[in-house]
């Protein structure tokens, strides 16, 4: 009797395990690093156009990079549908990806597609300055017009920004300032800014929410969720300071190891269509096919001139410098 029970339990467990490892034909697994809501929008859009279900878990760009690096060359996903530039460049260099000359991506400018067709940039995102309207008013302060104004001691412990050690957005913020001021002056700026930063958050979008809830007055944050939070009723104001903002891409690519090449190609094709660009622009991204942007409107914001490849290469070294300079405090 007992033996039967145990046998039954084991049988049930084995079948559960078998079932869960058994994939369905029209499903692909992808690493996807947009915000949870925006991931869902992309998944639904792709499903509507192709019938392909993308299985994904919300992970930050950094998490995806670590996963992919640790799994190489036995990836647990078929493709990436949203990662930062460091991983896209790394994947190309290590030949983890299959190039695909998609007809749907013809005519897209070179910022958005690799010249060897290894990666596809589905949308640019940037960072902006956000402030809490109510709290600023309460304190009789106004939004800074220039990044330099953030160095004013009146903002001491009132600014939050993400940490480049854990966030792709922050990595972009850092290399934008290093490009804007030049490396030597750039580090001096970041060090001066550090005096006013309360702490560095883990996620690139966290400052939007922290400032929105009034925990802090100002935040340097990903532009991804700003419009959405304002629509939800957070007392946020945002601005592009006069020096401009940096940008990074959101990259898609197909892993060499996938057994579902046809499905992956279909997904890439859809991402090259004007409709997909319109959908992404509606969320607030700057897209490969020009479309009116929900956050910035018809004008593209002023960009700081960047070299994404150089930034990807320099990141480990910049991380070491970062830790030396900003990590020894005890509060």
């Amino acid at each position: 009797m007992k033996g039967k029970v145990i046998f039954g339990i084991v049988a049930v467990m084995v079948s559960v395990v078998l079932m869960s490892s058994h994939g369905f034909a029209q499903e692909i697994r992808a690493y996807m690093g947009l915000s949870p809501e925006n991931n869902a929008k992309v998944v639904n859009f792709i499903k509507g156009k192709t019938g392909i279900q993308i299985l994904q878990t919300f992970q930050s760009f950094g998490e995806i990079e670590a996963k992919v690096k640790s799994e190489a060359p036995n990836f647990n996903a078929d493709m990436i549908t949203g990662c930062g530039s460091p991983l896209a460049f790394m994947a190309k260099k290590n030949q983890w990806v299959v190039p695909y000359d998609s007809p749907a991506w013809k005519g897209v400018s070179s910022e958005f597609i690799d010249q060897d067709k290894n990666w596809f940039n589905i949308s640019n995102f940037s960072f902006v300055l956000v402030g809490n309207k109510n709290k600023l008013q309460e304190k009789g302060l106004s939004m800074p017009k220039s990044w330099k104004e953030l160095l004013d001691p009146k903002w001491k412990d009132q600014i939050v920004m993400p940490s480049p050690l854990s966030s792709g957005t922050a990595n972009m913020i850092r290399f934008a300032f290093l490009a804007l001021y030049g490396e030597e002056e750039g580090w001096k700026f970041l060090q001066a800014l550090d005096k006013n930063i309360h702490h560095y958050t883990r996620s690139g979008n966290a400052p939007t929410d922290l400032v929105g809830r009034g925990e802090f007055l100002l935040g340097i944050t990903s532009d991804e969720n700003v419009k959405k939070r304002i629509d939800e009723g957070y007392p946020l104001i945002w601005s592009v300071p006069q020096e401009g903002i940096g940008y990074d891409g959101t990259f898609a690519l197909i892993f060499k190891t996938t057994k579902k090449m046809a499905e992956c190609k279909k997904v890439i094709d859809v991402m090259g269509t004007p409709e997909f660009s319109s959908m992404m622009a509606e969320i607030g991204y700057v897209t490969p096919r020009p479309a009116e942007n929900k956050l910035y409107g018809k004008v593209t914001p002023k960009y700081i001139k960047l070299d994404l490849g150089y930034a990807a290469e320099m990141r480990p070294k910049w991380n070491d410098i970062w830790k030396e300079k900003f990590r020894t405090e005890f509060k």
């Binding site: 007992k2 033996g3 339990i9 467990m13 559960v16 395990v17 869960s20 490892s21 499903e27 697994r29 992808a30 690493y31 949870p36 869902a40 299985l55 994904q56 878990t57 919300f58 930050s60 950094g62 998490e63 990079e65 670590a66 690096k69 640790s70 799994e71 036995n74 647990n76 996903a77 412990d157 940490s163 050690l165 854990s166 966030s167 309360h198 702490h199 958050t201 883990r202 996620s203 979008n205 966290a206 939007t208 929410d209 922290l210 929105g212 809830r213 009034g214 925990e215 802090f216 939800e232 009723g233 957070y234 480990p316 991380n319 830790k323 030396e324 990590r327 020894t328 005890f330 509060k331």
Partner: protein
């Protein structure tokens, strides 16, 4: 069929011989299999971390360790972590002891409600307290605004408070179990002889409690320094090892330094584990006086009663308010910004799949864990082979290993053939099985010590073979230990974050990871609602389990008694 007939006679002989062999050697075979499992799923991953930390492309190197000890920021992280662990352990033990003393020796009226409150945090993710502390004491928190508090929550103190509240129940549970199984006669005789209550506590209760307190201390220390949810959300600019390890792997994709941090994180745990084992050898006096006797509520002297109740009620209030805040947040649009009551977070069913996955993983883990634990206990107590105490030590060491380290170890060890488990569901369950094995094993061992081996020998003498004896006698008697292992593994797997965060794969989200991501992301409402759903489901599971065990004649509270000490 014809063939089978022609081999009938010799095969019968072989079968008999195999049967006899099995009968005699089954314990050893079982032990060998279990030992192999322990090696593969506990020692090998740890070894993988160790190797990763001393290897670079050119060969063996200590350069990563040199970097750790020469760079201030890593070292700072270590000292902060140790300080956090020690402070937390101390506070948790004191609060846990006060609570346990009150629920076993204190006024009857207080016992049940206090116990209930003290156990509450066990069923929620530990970082629930980070969320509620931000709601209350953040820069824009309710209390901060109401009282104009100038204190900044983000930093060392905030983390200590959150971690303490999260792990008091662990300390309480262990101490309460030992305290309940202590024979109160000794204390009562001392009382009758005129000793003051303080003196009794100091010279009788606490010394008798030593094993329980030691174990509670070890467990709290390990959990505190490994579970990084609170430190990641509330740490501000204060570095701690566990979240640093997480960032090192997940943010910087630097597996070598991540492994170094892991090894460093293990060292204090191992030291305390051996210290604990060493101090417990030859201290078997806890069972003095045989069966526990229900203790009559004694009149506590105000000198003890007032401070104890003060401490207990502070802790109790903090826990209740924390849960209340999270409940409130899950019914409010944006707590603190727009306090309109809404159902949108609760009605957001995106998290259902994650919760379902968590339950599935926890059930698998609990089932395997309880089985492996019970069997291990059996071979440790009844086996007669060399190295039994080594197996015992390994199987108990799981709980001294920080979850982050196990997570990274599994990621490194099982990512390539022959044992490629990453991306699947089993890796999520297995890491919990071996991390939380100790509880089932200990419960099994203590149960087996109570069962006289003569019953088994009688069964064997009457002609039953090993399998029959095992099924008919040993298994039923060990069922409570099985249940103990099952419940503990189930509950901890459901809410634990530190290991699985490295192991989840696309399309298979777990509730604990999802809540953590949402909380870090800033979506307090969503995170709170998911937490509340998880808590409701755990409570439901406990009620069902309670019902089943009552129906089958077991009392769950009795099982919990055997859970720990």
């Amino acid at each position: 069929m014809a063939e089978a007939g022609s081999f009938h006679v010799p095969r019968f002989g072989v079968r008999e011989r195999v049967k006899a062999f099995l009968n005699a050697e089954l314990v050893n075979i079982l032990a060998a299999i279990l030992f192999l499992l322990l090696v593969i799923f506990l020692l090998y991953p740890i070894l993988a971390v160790l190797i990763k930390s001393i290897k670079d492309p050119e060969g063996l190197t200590l350069s990563y360790y040199v970097k750790f000890f020469t760079k201030g920021y890593y070292f700072r992280s270590l000292t902060n972590t140790l300080l956090l662990g020690l402070m937390n352990t101390l506070v948790c033990l004191i609060a846990g002891f006060c609570l346990a003393y009150l629920t076993t020796r204190g006024p009857l009226l207080l016992r049940k409600p206090l116990k209930l409150v003290a156990m509450m945090p066990l069923i929620a993710p530990p970082y629930l307290f980070a969320i509620s502390l931000i709601i209350l004491f953040g820069h824009n928190g309710i209390m901060t605004k109401a009282f104009g508090i100038k204190w900044s929550l983000y930093g060392f103190t905030g983390v200590v408070i959150a971690q303490t509240l999260a792990f008091i129940p662990l300390a309480y549970l262990m101490i309460e179990n030992t305290l309940r199984s202590l024979n109160p006669n000794l204390e009562e005789s001392a009382y009758d002889l005129g000793a003051s209550e303080i003196r009794i506590i100091r010279t009788i209760t606490i010394p008798l409690l030593a094993p329980g307190i030691l174990k509670a201390g070890l467990l709290v220390f390990v959990m505190t320094i490994a579970e990084f949810g609170n430190a990641a959300i509330l740490g501000g600019r204060t570095p701690f090892l566990a979240p640093d390890t997480y960032t090192m792997i997940i943010g910087e994709a630097d597996f070598e330094m991540g492994s170094v941090l892991s090894v460093i994180l293990i060292i204090p745990c191992i030291i305390i584990f051996f210290l604990h084992n060493y101090m417990l050898t030859g201290k078997k006096f806890t069972t003095i006086g045989g069966k526990p006797v229900a203790s009559e509520p004694r009149k506590m002297t105000p000198l003890v009663k007032i401070p104890f109740i003060l401490i207990a009620s502070t802790v109790g209030m903090a826990i209740i308010v924390s849960f209340g805040m999270v409940l409130l947040a899950s019914f409010t649009r944006i707590l603190g910004v727009n306090n309109e009551l809404v159902l949108m977070h609760i009605k957001n069913f995106d998290s259902n799949l994650a919760i379902y996955n968590s339950i599935k993983v926890s059930l698998i883990a609990a089932l395997i864990g309880a089985m492996v634990g019970t069997l291990l206990a059996y071979v440790i107590v009844r086996g007669k082979f060399f190295g039994r105490s080594f197996i015992e030590m390994i199987s108990l060491s799981g709980f001294a290993l920080p979850g982050t380290v196990i997570g990274i170890g599994y990621l490194l060890a099982f990512n390539a053939p022959p044992l490629k488990l990453t991306g699947g569901i089993m890796i999520l369950a297995l890491n919990s099985v071996f991390r939380f094995l100790a509880v089932g094993v200990e419960a099994g061992i203590s149960k087996l010590h109570q069962i006289n081996i003569e019953i088994e020998e009688a069964s064997a003498d009457l002609g039953a073979n090993f399998m029959v004896t095992f099924y008919k006698i040993v298994l039923p008697l060990m069922f409570p230990a099985f249940i103990a292992g099952f419940i503990y593994t189930f509950m901890t797997t459901l809410v634990s974050l530190s290991a699985v965060v490295f192991l989840v794969s696309p399309g298979f989200e777990l509730a604990a990871v999802r809540i953590f991501d949402r909380a870090v992301y800033g979506e307090i409402g969503n995170a709170s609602a998911t937490t509340m759903k998880l808590v409701a489901i755990v409570i439901l599971c406990m009620v069902i389990l309670n019902y089943i065990t009552k129906k089958t004649g077991f009392d769950v509270s009795q099982k919990k008694g055997s859970v720990t000490v």
